[in-house]
């Protein structure tokens, strides 16, 4: 396999297209003439916040440790993976890029050779997140707007994964794009949908993962939404949380227009105006007009 060894973080806020890209990678690695099983993707990657991996490596029951002590052990886990791996390991990560209370990067220093940061229009994320978590859209927006938001924080029961700090949608993007420990490539979900070959090809090239155009094209075909939906309908999907809503829904770009109220759009845009501008997401007309009128305290400045 022509690839430079080491960890490649596949980082994103939840529901941003991370899993789609991971399925593409699994198909690329499999190199077969039929699509890979969506329920058997973890051979080489997995998710950085896996409780199972943490417990297998440390021998400790994560439920007996405060979140901060778990975070202190996590850098050692990724450093060991990096030292042991002779191939590339693309690992999905929803954690924001943060430091432990010991002051070191929680994902380890020098453990990864690159990071691909996948970002999606926050208005589409809100709709998808509500379906995935079986919450209201307002609750999803709160998770995106709270600067100290986190996944799996509750300790009344055993959460499915380790606690993951999200820092809100803007904070998440800023944490990854502004850190200087790991070189990072930005990949927009909208660009992945518009021209997957070009977007995925650029990400692979950034991570020094060689692949022919033919292989990329085949892997994209095998990771087509219709195929993913077919597999989920027939055999389910392990990463699905909701009992009522399938994991692979529409994957639409701009689907929020029919789903969010004006207030919800405004709440999101007010909270994330600077980062949306930086990532090329246009504000809806009402917010843009209000911003011009100065209603949002000069937030428009960040757009220029």
């Amino acid at each position: 396999m022509s690839e430079a060894p080491g960890i490649v973080w596949l980082a994103s806020f939840p529901k941003s297209g991370n899993t789609w890209f991971r399925i593409f990678l699994a198909n690329l690695a499999a190199g077969r003439d039929k699509p890979a099983d969506i329920n058997d993707l973890d051979e080489r990657g997995g998710i950085a916040s896996s409780r199972h991996e943490f417990e297998a490596a440390t021998l400790l029951d994560s439920g007996l440790l405060p979140h901060s002590d778990i975070d202190r052990l996590r850098p050692r886990i990724y450093e060991r993976i990096a030292a042991d791996t002779k191939a590339q390991r693309w690992i999905k990560v929803h954690d924001a890029y943060t430091l432990t209370d010991g002051g070191e990067p929680m994902l380890g220093l020098g453990a990864a050779r690159a990071a691909i940061y996948v970002v999606r229009d926050p208005r589409d994320v809100a709709v998808s997140l509500a379906h995935h978590n079986t919450t209201t859209i307002d609750e999803a927006i709160e998770l995106m707007n709270q600067p100290d938001s986190a996944l799996c924080r509750g300790r009344r029961g055993q959460p499915p994964q380790l606690r993951q700090k999200l820092l809100g949608w803007s904070g998440h993007a800023a944490s990854w794009l502004e850190q200087t420990d790991v070189r990072v490539h930005l990949m927009r979900y909208e660009d992945m949908r518009a021209d997957p070959h070009r977007a995925f090809g650029a990400a692979l090239a950034f991570a020094d993962r060689a692949a022919s155009d033919e292989d990329i094209a085949r892997a994209i075909r095998h990771a087509d939404f219709a195929e993913l939906q077919r597999q989920e309908r027939e055999r389910g999907f392990t990463e699905r949380l909701s009992r009522s809503s399938p994991f692979f829904r529409a994957g639409e770009v701009g689907g929020w227009r029919g789903e969010l109220t004006r207030d919800q759009v405004a709440t999101l845009e007010r909270a994330h105006m600077p980062m949306m501008g930086r990532l090329g997401y246009d504000l809806s007309e009402t917010t843009a007009e209000a911003a011009v009128e100065g209603a949002y305290g000069g937030g428009i400045v960040a757009l220029s």
């Binding site: 439920g63 007996l64 009344r156 055999r235």
Partner: protein
């Protein structure tokens, strides 16, 4: 405590069939009379090295050198587990014996049982009429919850979390009562309505608590089935599926308590022979079911009926 006693008090327990004498009070372990012939296992507060001479790192916080394992738990203690007979504990500054207790009772004992060559399953076990079934699965899969629910339906409690299996004279598998209380998260305590039996928190600041079982076995019951929990994801239906021998052998490997330790301590031929002997009397099944407390009553009835039918 008599005056002039210079030695710290010795607590006496029987854990997984072994007589334990401990300087630390092990919260959640059930007091037992001391063994006349002396303890099988000692637990002491002592100094433990920062690193093991000749040790090989097995994970980010533990290393192994022959019959010794050194385990570090951040901001709690270093645990030195030696030869299947001794657990030494050096507390980190600011930590108390109370903080360390659950790590002695849990992970340190799990390692020690591996050192003694026992088969240690990551699971719970319950029994009826001298026969036991084990429920295995990853942490968070609901093993303790299901065991608690089975105990409400008249099963006796045998073990939780660490399930030590050995072979009797006839090479039939038996499960050792772990001499501990069950541990449940706050959420499960509320949903199973067992708050009246709630004891101390397993660790201060953690919402997981010891729960006294209504009835526990004293002798080691025969193990007659192993159920590995899995989640039925839609559209997959709820089912109890028999595992063929290769899959069952693999399942026992994967369901070992901390497989990384078993792989480093046990010899492969020993592990294989042990698994084969267990499975010849206790077939393994995959129990795929939906998650959620609302299914519990039905799942308990399904499991109990399936297990009873094996006897016939």
């Amino acid at each position: 405590m008599g005056e002039g006693t210079s030695k710290p008090p010795v607590h006496s327990y029987r854990i997984s069939g072994l007589a334990v004498a401990s300087q630390l009070e092990l919260l959640g372990a059930i007091d037992a009379p001391a063994n006349d012939d002396g303890p099988d296992i000692t637990v002491r507060l002592q100094t433990a090295p920062e690193t093991l001479e000749g040790g090989v790192a097995g994970g980010p916080n533990w290393e192994i050198a022959g019959e010794r394992v050194l385990l570090r738990v951040p901001r709690v203690a270093r645990f030195l587990i030696e030869g299947g007979r001794h657990i030494g504990v050096e507390l980190e500054p600011g930590a108390t014996a109370r903080d360390a207790s659950i790590f002695v009772l849990g992970v340190s004992f799990g390692i020690l049982l591996h050192q003694r060559g026992a088969m240690v399953l990551h699971g719970a076990a319950v029994a009826r009429d001298g026969r036991a079934l084990a429920i295995c699965g990853a942490s968070g899969d609901g093993k303790s919850t299901l065991a608690t629910a089975l105990c409400r339906e008249g099963f006796e409690f045998v073990a939780d979390d660490i399930c030590a299996v050995s072979l009797d004279e006839a090479r039939r598998p038996v499960v050792w009562p772990d001499g501990r209380q069950l541990k449940l998260w706050r959420e499960a305590i509320e949903r199973l309505d067992v708050a009246a039996r709630q004891g101390a928190a397993v660790r201060e600041g953690i919402e997981k608590y010891f729960i006294g079982a209504p009835a526990s076995v004293l002798a080691a019951p025969r193990l007659t089935a192993v159920y590995v929990l899995g989640e039925a994801r839609p559209p997959e239906p709820e089912a109890i599926l028999p595992l063929n021998l290769p899959d069952a052998m693999r399942a026992l490997d994967l369901q070992a308590y901390r497989p990384a330790i078993r792989a480093r301590i046990g010899s492969k031929p020993h592990n294989l022979a042990q698994s084969a002997a267990v499975l010849s009397h206790a077939p393994a099944f995959r129990f795929v079911r939906p998650r959620g407390f609302e299914h519990m009553d039905r799942l308990v009835a399904t499991l109990a009926a399936h297990w009873e039918a094996l006897r016939r």
